[in-house]
Symmetry: D2
Subunit: 449 residues, 4 copies
């Protein structure tokens, strides 16, 4: 919006608003003032000047410090919910005569005013991005201020609707992608950090490497989520060879296996809006079309909670006095144990079945696996296929999982069945090999009933 | 979605669905079956196969005849509202202890299941376009079936949110725009019909002509609304010279006035989602930036309800016996009166003040002007500037308004003020000239109190 | 180039040039003055102001009438050839001591100054297009002024080099191609005229229709040559069904034959620069890649010189007294003969072998076929495959060829062999069927030796 | 070209060629074989299979080692010149009857067959790039093999014509330019090396930094030449502050001076084809249009030959015994002299006038300045404006020029005049300040006559 136009509009909004914009010190330090603008944008006046007012509010918010932002969110919580009088009337009417029609009136009355406010803040160019950033700030503040959950509920509702899969665009990330996008791939990679532009290039330029991301048209250069794929001759068991800077690329005619070795969400402000499921499935389709020779679609994934779980069992769980368990724990304490052949061999024999037990039996209160990565892929309908010894020798890999990595297998014909069994009955799709491994040891860990 | 992938998914959805897809005759003629798919897509199963299921539902809908579509919408009305049991509980709880928290629970419970259904139907590529088309069908059926209003309420709610101004893209329509878009401009022009490709070209190619449209990224080649602009030396009073095929283009250095002479909504399925206000204002900004010399931004608009109103007043209104009024009516009955100098002169003297009275005094029950075009521009904050004699000599122009056209003036510094006065107090921004004209005659028409 | 910059440059070029630009009447009516600018641009001064000077020359040329243009071209002919003194010295030196080195010096000395002039005129944006247009004017004038051939030789040399196949871009013409390009397709179609935008649409939008054009990056929206393709179930024998507005499109799985039914050069100024050969072969490759099911690549072509040749033979050739020939001629005189069953049947029996004889025996002085279309396709390596009765019932088709059309077959494995035999030995690749037909009648026409 | 198509073509080219392609060891090690293909592509056969043959030749060339390439170029030198018999006849005819017509015949006869060969090698996609690379190889070999100059002459002739300014596209290089282009900017920067992606980003992303490059459509992602521009408050005297990673960007309203601080040619294979002149002038126009506030267009340039020249004068020139000169030389021998205040002060007083003398008096045999950068900018019509003390403290800067840098000023109204005086009369445009400085010392250096 041109400066002149904004100025013209504002000269007609009245003294108070004008002060806010031209910015006396009171206005700039007081989080409540922005709330007045929020009231204005929801009023009649807001219709004519909606874009200008939204730009003012977003600009004001951006310049606030966390205390001011908290104050603003608190105002939203307290003063921008549903109108209680109207809602009580609608609820009373509905209960007196429940019908689809009275339910609709009730639904409208129950909508928090925050939702219309958020919709209006989205009007200007760049509004969507500003709202995603605002939501990110909100999440930061929520950990100490759970009372803001009501505001977050509205953000979540609208962002989920606006970032519906139908509005997303899948793009391949390549070496001739704009640098402004590539730098974000470097920044957002959360699983196996990208060390440099050369490292990035090795992951996107060779013919046996692919990277795909979802974008939203209103956040032009901002990837929402991306997945890195290696096209390999067989299902890999370790991450290092995939990332090695001197590896030999796979020949086109030998690519049989697409390996999803890293998937990263990019926008903290979109937490809870799920893209990963759709991304993996669409990438599977893209690859199947481009490379009809491909036979397997697997992940190479970390086991994020294994050792944490093991330690807990030993501390206050049933394994306090278990000999084998104590042996595992002791061996893991050796620094560099994986370079010591005999220790490694002994651990291998014990850690693999431990992991199998972990996947099949370590559950949260709701019956879901404690392992977040497992929840994601099993929830997508994948199958836990293989546990790999010495798959990830990075510090994180050793500390989380004793170096173990796993493959989840996406088999198109089983996805729906697996998903449903998992969601409805908490049944985990797993290979026979892992099931057998688990069986041997379940007794040890007290999961044998 | 690849055929193979769809097939794989469907083989796992179970016998019934498979039959629907492979299409036994029952499935294809029975509008209720699609409702089963709708139930499925809202279930757990729907998460894994959501895109495939949505494609099936949309394809099924497309192939239905109106009777089947009506049946489908009825099922949506009756079975996909809010869950009454859950809603009654939430309403009771809320009334027992009204709070923001209980209001949120109530709001969630009150959401019709249709809304989640519509969101899921949006998942596949092309989903948004299919939903806009579905809404268009719904509007067709609603005139005879007002009970479908509940379904329409949900479409309206979601489409308004999805087609928020912040997601729209303004594009200039030019002669090197793809023909597939241009043909839609020809098709959708609703004010001054475009006769041919040559006619279109005359409206978009010369340097003193512009056309702008809003697009939504999910409806790639489909304009949502567009406006045609002429860059003129002065405020024009008649449409024919603007559209003449032998007119002399305005020199760049003589363009002082941007004339919005036609604005057309394109998507019936988006009825009620308002773009026009934003479009005009953004185009004003674009033009102001490109052509700093421009001084006036006006419309050249039809007066859609004038003669209808005049006739009504004479039939059963206060003017049954008014002499002057009867004279007007009589003169207008002459075919080709505008080519008869003396009749035209007499009518001119009387019709102009009549129109002024019409704009200022002909109101609906809610106090808004009966003239729809006036409601739109005055609601945007424009001012009624001038009434033009013999502005539109087309059949429609003569029948609607005795050939009158008007200019609405968009003056940036007054827009907000005008809008607010109009919306809050029903006060109409109008030039002194028109106000004076009206004054003289208000008594005649019985608006003199 | 900004006006100010041009002005600044010109103020420093000296009085004379300045007058030319600011345009006294002498300058504007005198074709010789532009030649002074041409001298200037070839001088030292030209290096610094080359673009500005070239723009001046091109603008001046554009505004000239044909007489002035002719004068300008004459000056180019007479004063911008090679420098004779330098050339004579170089030729003498070369003959005294012929070597590669002295040949190079000679070559440089022999280059007409026009070539450097044309290269400099190409410097500004739009220069290439202006030169192509200038060459078109030159060709117009050359018919009456053969002495301009020297200038044309230089245009031909440089344009052939600049429009080398390696610089061309193949683009598919579709319904979402910019209208500014499509209008040129309508304008340039030279074989089967495009009647309207709807007619165009029928040729490019259906799934069984394709159109491809070559573009040059310096002539952005200007197609150089384009070919229209129909994807059919079998080799067609008539044009009307291909262009019918109510035809039923071919199903994808039934497309076996790509028919090149129209190929048009677009830029008269590029006469002699051959693109057609490359276009057809590249389109064959595109189609083969997209539609692996395709088996045949054929044309449906006019027989442009048949009746002209027939008439000549009868007038002053060996057939003056030939009975059968006289019968042919007489029957063709009936207006609407093709709608008269018995005449048509009698003609069919005679005209088909006549055409076969025509293709195989009617030759120019250089041994090439007199039929220009045949020269083009046979020169490309195609084979004359089939002669079709009542293939083109348009006036042109009846007048040129008694309604006959032919198919040339492009068979990839034979192209090179056919081409070479044709070019080196004037041997025509032809189907057995046509060869047999010809044999029967060659005696009649006196080609039996 | 599809593999199948290529194969089909080659099966018809005959036994020998087929062997070349399928590649027995003889073919691959023998540079002469490729010459046979070159003969073939110039023959009739070449017309039908030109693209395929060109691809073969280019592929063969690419896989050759330097010895083979040398052999190939030698064959081109010896066997692909003009046809001597035809040329001798044409020369004889011309001398017997000199005319424009006989001159044209002579010119055609004098064209080396290499030129047609190069044009044919350009036919396939990627041909232009391959030829530029081939020319680069040729230049490498030429230093030891001056006899290849004839081949280079042909490359130079055609590449100059093909890379005519009218075919070039100016693009701004920004942070959202594809990384594949940006990496080439990093690679090709020849003046002030780009250290990293962060360094690059600092040069293209801030609002007060610009970078522009020329591209050719046939070399899509390959910049030909680029210039880096800083928008500053005043004419800068040192390079380090412009490149500092912690510098404060210039505010928009304070930018008065565009500084061209680095210009780099990218394609060794285009040596001798001059772009720099056009690039600078077009960038000046772009900037003038975007930023009307700009007042000065200057360079910040190295003084590449100063100390080399100074040393020469002292060694065997007139300054062997000059005291002041000896003092300069001695002081420069101190490592880190520029950090020693007193030495620096003493040197400053002497080195600045020395440089002035250098620019005005140090000439090559042809009267041009020995300083290559000066030749370029003065030849473009710029003026030598200012000599800056301690402008470049890098090793190179200290070694070449005792840390001096200079500004050349591009003043649009003087460009043409300066250029002409420079080219015709070797007169150097220079500020009064520098002229005065030089005067004082010319005697010292023996340039006082």
């Amino acid at each position: 919006m041109s400066r002149a136009f904004l100025h013209d509009l504002l000269t007609s909004i009245g003294q108070k608003s004008r002060e806010l914009v031209h910015g006396g010190p009171v206005a700039l330090t007081d989080g409540v003032e922005i709330a007045d603008l929020a009231e204005t944008i929801l009023s009649q006046r807001g219709e004519a000047s909606g874009i200008a007012l939204a730009e003012m509010i977003l600009a004001r918010f951006r310049s606030m410090d966390p205390t001011q932002k908290l104050e603003f969110f608190k105002v939203l919580t307290e003063h921008f919910g549903a109108e209680q009088g109207r809602l009580q009337a609608a609820a009373t009417d509905y209960l007196a005569a429940p019908s689809d029609q009275s339910a609709i009136v009730l639904h409208d009355a129950a909508e928090p005013r925050r939702q219309e406010l958020i919709r209006r803040l989205n009007l200007p160019d760049g509004g969507t991005g500003a709202l995603v950033a605002m939501r990110s700030d909100l999440l930061d503040l929520m950990s100490d201020h759970p009372e803001l959950a009501a505001v977050d509920h509205d953000f979540d509702h609208l962002l989920s609707s606006w970032f519906n899969r139908g509005f997303l665009v899948l793009k391949r990330i390549e070496w001739d992608t704009p640098a402004s996008v590539l730098e974000k791939i470097i920044e957002y990679e959360a699983v196996h950090a990208i060390q440099s532009w050369d490292d990035l290039r090795r992951r996107i330029e060779p013919l046996d490497r692919r990277c795909y991301a979802f974008f939203h048209p209103a956040l032009r250069d901002e990837p929402l989520i991306f997945v890195e794929v290696a096209l390999e001759r067989e299902i890999p068991g370790a991450i290092a060879p995939l990332l090695a800077d001197d590896r030999v690329p796979t020949q086109s005619d030998q690519m049989t296996t697409a390996v999803f070795y890293s998937i990263s969400n990019c926008q903290r402000g979109l937490r809870g809006v799920s893209f990963g499921n759709f991304l993996i499935k669409q990438v599977v389709q893209e690859l199947a079309r481009d490379l009809p020779r491909l036979k397997n679609y697997v992940t190479l994934s970390p086991v994020v909670g294994l050792l944490h779980w093991v330690r807990q069992l030993g501390r206050d769980g049933p394994l306090q006095d278990n000999e084998r368990y104590q042996r595992i724990s002791k061996l893991l304490e050796h620094t560099g144990w994986h370079q010591n052949e005999s220790i490694a061999a002994e651990l291998q024999e014990m850690l693999l079945p431990t992991a199998a037990v972990y996947f099949l039996n370590a559950k949260r209160g709701d019956g879901m696996p404690v392992d977040a990565v497992a929840r994601f892929h099993l929830g997508n309908g994948a199958r836990l296929e293989r546990i790999n010894w010495l798959g990830d020798l990075s510090d994180v890999g050793l500390n989380q999982a004793g170096g173990l990595m796993v493959n989840y297998l996406y088999k198109l014909t089983d996805i729906e069945k697996n998903h449903e069994a998992f969601v409805n009955n908490r049944r985990i799709a797993v290979s026979n090999e892992i099931r057998k491994m688990a069986k041997k040891w379940q007794q040890e860990f007290g999961f044998d009933k």
